[in-house]
Amino acid sequence: MAIDAETKAFLDLTDGDIAAWAQDRAAAVGLTLPEATLPAVHENLALLRTQTALFIAALGDQAAEPPAAAFEP
């Protein structure tokens, strides 16, 4: 699966890794995650990881290809 390293790292997360990964990512984008939001943010990340895995797997080798410049329906 030819995807970039960041996306692969996200897909490889276990549930136990998500909290630490989220803090690292938040720092990288300059975002502070309010304490009260953490459980829901982690839950959303877990769901997004599962959903991402679905379409990345469906894309196969095309996952690393750039999308069309302008989408035509």
Binding site: D4, F10, V41, E43, N44, L48, A57
Partner: protein, 464 residues
């Protein structure tokens, strides 16, 4: 006081049987009576509407020609720019935003046809949701069962029409936000092809997936409004480049012609409530649709839309998330924060998959003119209900109501949601999906179903 349809109202105003002022005043009375129950409107523009009505009546008195929607009251989801009002998009953090000086393009186009804007409507914050249980403005209630949601994110737009307050409203649809509330409220809703209607002056949610569209009680009303809103607007919305292709005049003939109709199975049947599948069967039978069509990539397409949404939306909101995260609706905030953390590769891959799925659906349309699918997984859930059962598993209402709508908006196809005629029961809608740029086929199919009595808007409640 029974509300008239848009075409009936315009004909009455043009002929002098009533006045634009009387039409607007009647709508304002219905809003005054119905809105305390439904909570569909967040702003009522009585002064502006009556001034426009009086100006229109003066033109009629002088014998001047008037537009096709003369005196028809309409309202818009509160993410449409209205001159002089902050464009809230269902939020608290935009209360202090500078008000726009002009109305959104689609409002201008409807008013150019002499329709009259009477108000702004409730929605999920920043259009991120399917429930319109807005943390700041409260829930919009379903006109057919006040304990249930109207759907979202254009819930106020659907409830305002289903509740008989206005015959026409505008909304937006990114993942199902016109189709879900149309289905749950028992009215027609049109999400045109991506790029067909201008989004100038519409507060964005996910630019790649956002569509503007409309709600009405009849196919004819919807088709007329759609025609009047069409036309390229490349300066206002770079995606809106196509010249107008009017459909209303041709619909009656097109509805008489045989159409090849298929029914989506597979992903589009998994987890649907039995009454939803039964309603779909009744529509398929009326159209002579016997072939099941499986789109093997639909589940992955839905997943891609599901992930693209928070990533793109979070990019738009990143500055506010850094300074004012706790001022967001919690249900929206937590998904935006998660989206802000995702690697860019997720969005790139999600964009890449669009063409893969689009090509699969294009191949299906080589054999069919129309594909049918359920609009919502279930009839309207209760207000405050957080989970429902899908395929024997408890799942989040907010995250799953759009399971059958998301794959279709992901590739930008036009869809008419038609209300299945089920008097006395909770509304259920069906997606009538057409190839890109063929809104005429979707509307003609809806007209055929309406003529057969298989599709019909549920009767609005009587307000005291």
């Amino acid at each position: 006081m029974s509300p008239a349809n848009a075409l009936e109202t315009a004909a009455a105003v043009r002929s002098g049987r009533t006045t634009a002022r009387a039409s607007v005043e009647a709508a304002l009375v219905r809003v005054e009576r119905g809105n305390p129950v439904l909570n569909a409107f967040t702003a009522v523009l009585a002064e502006r509407a009556l001034a426009r009505a009086d100006a229109l009546d003066a033109r009629i008195a002088r014998g001047e020609g008037v537009g096709a929607l003369a005196g028809v009251p309409f309202a818009v989801k509160n993410l449409f720019d209205i001159a002089g009002l902050p464009t809230l998009a269902g939020s608290k953090i935009r209360c202090a935003a500078p008000p726009p000086s002009d109305d959104a393009t689609l409002i201008q186009r409807l008013e150019a046809a002499d329709a009259i804007l009477v108000g702004a409507l409730n929605m999920d914050e920043f259009a991120y949701g399917f429930v319109t249980e807005n943390a700041h403005d409260g829930p919009t209630r379903n006109p057919h069962d006040k304990t249930r949601i109207a759907g979202g994110s254009s819930g106020g737009s659907a409830a305002a029409v289903a509740g008989g307050m206005v015959p026409l409203s505008l909304g937006s649809d990114t993942n199902g936000s016109i189709r879900i509330p149309a289905s749950l409220c028992g009215i027609f809703g049109l999400k045109p092809t991506w790029g067909r209607l201008s989004r100038q002056g519409v507060f964005p949610f996910v630019e790649s997936l956002d569509h503007a569209g409309a709600f009405a009680r009849t196919v004819e009303d919807l088709a007329l409004a759609y025609d009047l809103m069409q036309g390229a607007d490349p300066d206002g919305d770079p995606a809106c480049r196509r010249a107008a292709e009017p459909v209303a005049e041709a619909l009656a003939d097109l509805a008489d012609r045989p159409l090849r109709v298929g029914v989506l199975g597979g992903w589009f049947a998994q987890g649907a409530f039995p009454e939803v599948l039964s309603a779909l069967d009744s529509v398929a039978e009326a159209l002579g649709a016997r072939d099941r069509v499986i789109l093997p990539r639909a589940q992955a397409a839905r997943a891609a839309a599901f992930c693209l949404t928070p990533v793109e939306a979070a990019e738009l909101h990143l500055a506010d998330l850094k300074t004012s995260a706790m001022d967001y609706d919690p249900a929206v905030r937590d998904r935006l924060l998660a989206g802000a953390l995702l690697p860019h590769g997720v969005a790139r891959a999600a964009q890449r998959y669009r063409t893969v799925f689009r090509d699969e659906v294009r191949r299906a349309f080589e054999q069919f003119d129309i594909l049918l699918a359920p609009a919502s997984v279930c009839p309207a859930p209760g207000i405050g209900q957080t989970t429902m059962e899908m395929g024997g598993q408890p799942v989040s209402v907010r995250k799953n109501l759009g399971a059958f709508t998301q794959p279709i908006s992901y590739i930008g196809l036009p869809v008419l949601t038609a209300p299945v005629n089920r008097p006395g029961q909770l509304p259920i809608g069906v997606q009538i999906i057409a190839p890109a740029w063929r809104e005429d086929l979707a509307l003609a199919t809806g007209l055929k179903l309406q003529r057969l009595g298989v599709a019909a808007a549920h009767a609005p409640p009587e307000w005291p």
